[in-house]
């Protein structure tokens, strides 16, 4: 199983991604998808600008994907992350995890997102609805806590 990792400016199509993942095979019993969208924060935001570290973004998501593949019996794994300006309602990130059974697919997708949040080198900056440039979004400790769920108990 070779994970598909893409960092791109353009939008993605969920149906096309699932079709590509499952084309020509009949052994997959479950595909779990997660899509992260841009919120307007009660009308406060006109866009998010996503900055990333080219090269490391692909490499780090690849390392997270390799960990997921070592942990669950996956038949496919896709991660697509956008950069550049993204308006409220638009898609930011896609994770697909495919397996013979649903449990592995659910868990692997959840794991991918938790680590993508805390390890993938992306940073969001706010553009406000009043036309002014907002600040950089601060990291949430909730996200660190979520990622820690996957670590073995001390």
């Amino acid at each position: 199983m070779i994970p598909v990792i893409r960092i791109q400016r353009e939008d993605f199509d969920l149906s096309a991604e699932i079709a590509a993942l499952s084309a020509g095979r009949a052994d997959i019993g479950a595909v779990v998808s997660f899509i992260g969208l841009c919120r307007d924060e009660q009308g406060r935001l006109s866009a998010l600008e996503l900055e990333h570290y080219p090269g490391m973004a692909e490499a780090e998501i690849g390392r997270v994907a390799a960990e997921a593949a070592a942990r669950w019996p996956l038949m496919g794994l896709v991660a697509v992350h956008r950069y550049g300006p993204i308006r409220p309602g638009e898609q930011i990130v896609l994770v697909l995890a495919a397996s013979a059974h649903r449990r592995a697919a659910f868990e692997a997708a959840d794991f991918m997102m938790d680590y993508l949040k805390t390890r993938a080198p992306f940073w969001k900056r706010e553009h406000r609805s009043d036309g002014t440039l907002g600040g950089w979004v601060e990291a949430k400790t909730d996200d660190d806590d979520a990622a820690k769920r996957w670590e073995p108990a001390p």
């Binding site: 900055e51 570290y53 090269g55 490499a59 780090e60 990130v93 805390t118 993938a120 940073w123 950089w136």
Partner: protein, 97 residues
């Protein structure tokens, strides 16, 4: 008096430093190539050396423990040895996904 500058006798090595998000804005550069003293052992040693170079670095690293680092595109920690890393990146905690 032929005082020899300590810099002239110290070995240096060349690294590429890259900065992202508000670290980039505070430093004022997306990246730079610098000759750093070869005896800087760890990430935190490098951060303190950078802070002594100017107010922009001082501002970027005001909260030393907040800034994250990657050595040759692998996450590292303040106490990590610099080793032979050629590309050293500094950035805020990540907010992707």
């Amino acid at each position: 008096m032929n005082a020899v500058s300590p810099m002239a006798t110290s070995a240096t090595r060349t690294v590429r430093l890259v900065y992202f998000a508000w670290v980039r804005e505070r430093v004022g550069l997306p990246e730079e190539t610098l000759d750093i003293p070869a005896d800087l052992a760890t990430v935190v040693d490098l951060v303190r050396w950078l802070k002594a170079r100017g107010e922009n670095y001082e501002a970027a690293f005001a909260r030393e423990t907040l800034v994250r680092v990657a050595l040759d595109q692998h996450h590292a920690k303040p106490q990590s040895p610099l080793g032979n890393a050629r590309e050293i990146a500094f950035f805020p905690p990540m907010t992707g996904g």
